[in-house]
């Protein structure tokens, strides 16, 4: 599954960059995230709970920044397994920042999500809508925090 979008944030590029580098900030943008544990300055572990009808499960994952070219390009890998089928899920997210004047930044992302194993049977049917809503909510929160009064949060 591929996802891409471009949003603008009313904050300077270096501040957006610093925010994206901070695992705590990024984790706070992800809806439903639990048990956030920072491993190092570029890595954190966490989990997300979900239910489809009467079936409930938890997706545990590690997010890790794999490339950074400050302050314009960054790539992160997210790898995890779901608790019901033990299927591995892997996402690669590439982000580019482009300053739009001194106080505004364009953030473009391209995410590729690969599901292996049995969870892939649910594939687009359930996972796509969930992933789309997650990305939308994450960008909404990112905007709210960067455009709010609390610097860096």
């Amino acid at each position: 599954m591929n996802f891409e979008d471009r949003i603008t944030v009313k904050a300077p590029a270096d501040r957006v960059w610093a925010f994206l580098l901070d695992p705590n900030c990024i984790a706070a943008c992800m809806p439903g995230v639990q048990n956030v544990t920072q491993i190092d300055d570029r890595t954190f572990d966490a989990a997300i709970a979900a239910s489809v009808g009467p079936i409930s499960g938890k997706f545990s994952f590690r997010a890790h920044i794999v490339e950074s070219n400050p302050p314009t390009e960054m790539a992160a890998e997210i790898e995890g397994v779901d608790s019901v089928t033990k299927s591995p899920l892997r996402a690669h997210v590439a982000m580019t920042l482009q300053p739009l004047g001194a106080a505004e930044t364009a953030l473009a992302y391209r995410a590729t999500v690969q599901v292996k194993g049995r969870l892939a049977i649910l594939g687009e049917m359930v996972l796509r809508a969930t992933a789309t809503l997650m990305l939308e909510e994450a960008t909404r929160r990112l905007r709210a925090q960067l455009e709010g009064t609390d610097p860096g949060k």
Binding site: G32, V33, G53, P54, I55, M125, A129, L133
Partner: protein, 503 residues
């Protein structure tokens, strides 16, 4: 010692188990049933307990996954098949839907006059023991397959279910309490082969009734490698079992390995498109261009709406479905529309999906071999939603679903559309996100010898071969406007008649 059987059935799936039970009823006929997957006894609860169906798909080792690319962007979904005794009937959702009369009319028009609705109705009746319509002239009451509609349209149902049905009726859709009539349309109660909560696969309904017959030998975990062909006859069947290669001889061979593996076994045996076989380094013994061609499936697209209200639904298997025409000029209903349980993720809007199932495919795909290794899975090229007419039908059905749910009577249950999103082109969305309804058919099409794509004649015998028959989803000239399992059972029943008649 060289064993010899009167009939060797390759594949204990929906058709193969039915044929094995029928053909071994005559104690003089020695029947061997070879199944590639396991034959676990007693059945694991994941298979036997119908309420565990979703977990069976997600967790059991009995589902084979065939990666299949969408043409538009190369993304992948998985075509599925059961790899266990009972085949698809051991892992499916247990819908038990007859082919529509229109489907059988189409097969007749493809040069198969023996497959008319009137000629096949007695076969459809002898399969079933219909709990709801035992006295109907359309239904049977004494067959091996238990059929029941756990929900009937006059029963109380959840608030959401009732609102959905009432809204569909208000849009002019008829109530269709029996989906297994010749031309079902409208709000249909879904029939299932579930008896007291237990799955009635063809293992349970058919094979278990024949186990213990001294003239029936069943060997599971015995994948067939190839057929040894001399002239126009299959002399021996080669299979693996317990890590060793075996051969067995039979007077008649019935290939029921399913839409993916039946063409694979034929090609590995030198029966198939000459150029393909030469590419793979396989000696051509019978050139048949249609082997692996004519593949069709049902495309599924999910639309997802916001769910304003939380409902605790206890179902995964749908109780009813809508059968609709994407265009009133269609000869029969060409979509299943099914409400699905909510997806909930903390911190996100509740998601209420509705699935749209296109019950036909205008263009064709194929199943082919990437190597001559019999252990490699065949490759599937589905090509669904590649024909403009199919994309148009899908987007028309998507508009219908929006009309259905974006009405004041449905506002409590369905909010604004989330997927496809406001920026999405619906045709492109459908082509980039569709999955399979898992009803692949057609890779050994039935038809007269003057049809270059026909692989078997209407008596199911492989063209140019004296003692080789095919009975499974692969023989369907066109995909039925229905879930395909019951049609596969019907094909197995017909095959047993045809092999008996062949002496």
């Amino acid at each position: 010692m060289q064993e010899r059987y009167d009939v060797i059935i390759i594949g204990g799936g929906s058709a193969g188990c039915a044929a094995a039970m029928r053909l071994s009823a005559d104690p003089r006929r020695r029947v061997l049933l070879l199944e590639a997957g396991p034959d676990p006894q007693p059945l694991p609860e994941l298979v036997a307990d119908a309420s565990l169906q979703t977990r069976l798909l997600l967790e059991s080792p009995y589902v084979e996954m065939y990666p299949t690319q969408r043409q538009i962007d190369g993304s992948v979904f998985y075509s599925l098949a059961g790899r266990i005794m009972g085949g698809g009937s051991s892992v499916n959702v247990m819908s038990v839907l007859r082919p529509m009369k229109h489907d059988l009319d189409t097969w007749v028009a493809h040069g198969n006059p023996d497959w008319s609705y009137d000629k096949l109705l007695p076969v459809m009746k002898r399969i079933e023991s219909d709990q709801d319509y035992p006295d109907s002239p359309l239904h049977g009451s004494e067959g091996p397959l238990y059929v029941k509609r756990p929900f009937t349209l006059d029963m109380p149902t959840s608030e959401l279910g009732r609102a959905f049905i009432d809204r569909a009726v208000s849009m002019g859709l008829p109530l269709c309490p029996d989906l297994n009539v010749p031309e079902p349309l409208g709000v249909c109660a879904s029939p299932y082969n579930i008896k007291n909560g237990r799955r009635q696969s063809t293992t349970v309904a058919y094979l278990d009734r024949a186990r213990g017959r001294p003239n029936l030998q069943v060997i599971a975990e015995a994948p067939v490698l190839s057929l040894d062909v001399t002239g126009h006859r299959v002399e021996r069947v080669r299979y693996e079992h317990d890590g060793q290669a075996h051969t067995v001889a039979g007077d008649k061979v019935l290939l029921s390995a399913g839409v993916y593996h039946t063409p694979q076994i034929l090609m590995l045996s030198g029966i198939g498109p000459a150029r393909e076989l030469e590419r793979l380094g396989i000696k051509v013994v019978q050139a048949l261009e249609g082997v692996g061609q004519n593949y069709q499936d049902h495309a599924v697209v999910y639309m997802t709406f916001e769910g304003p209200t939380h409902f605790q639904e206890d179902w995964v298997v749908p109780r009813f479905r809508l059968i609709v025409k994407s265009d009133p000029s269609r000869p029969c209903g060409n979509f299943h529309i099914i409400p699905r349980p909510a997806t909930e993720v903390q911190g996100l809007t509740r998601m209420m999906p509705i699935s749209l199932h296109l019950l036909e495919q205008t263009n064709r795909g194929c199943v082919y071999l990437e190597s001559a290794d019999p252990r490699a899975l065949p490759a599937v090229e589905a090509n669904m939603l590649e024909h403009p007419a199919d994309v148009e039908a899908m987007t028309a059905a998507m508009r219908f679903v929006c009309d259905l749910v974006q009405h004041e009577s449905m506002q409590r249950y369905y909010g604004p559309l989330l997927q496809p999103g406001p920026k999405d082109d619906w045709g492109r969305f459908a082509r980039a996100t569709h999955d399979s309804y898992h009803h692949g058919v057609g890779t050994c099409m039935m038809g007269p010898a003057d049809n270059p794509l026909a692989v078997v004649d209407q008596r199911l015998r492989v063209h140019g071969m004296d003692n080789l028959w095919v009975a499974d989803a692969s023989i369907m000239p066109t995909v039925t406007h229905a879930n395909t399992n019951l049609t596969c059972i019907m094909i197995g029943e017909v095959a047993s008649d045809l092999l008996e008649a062949a002496g």
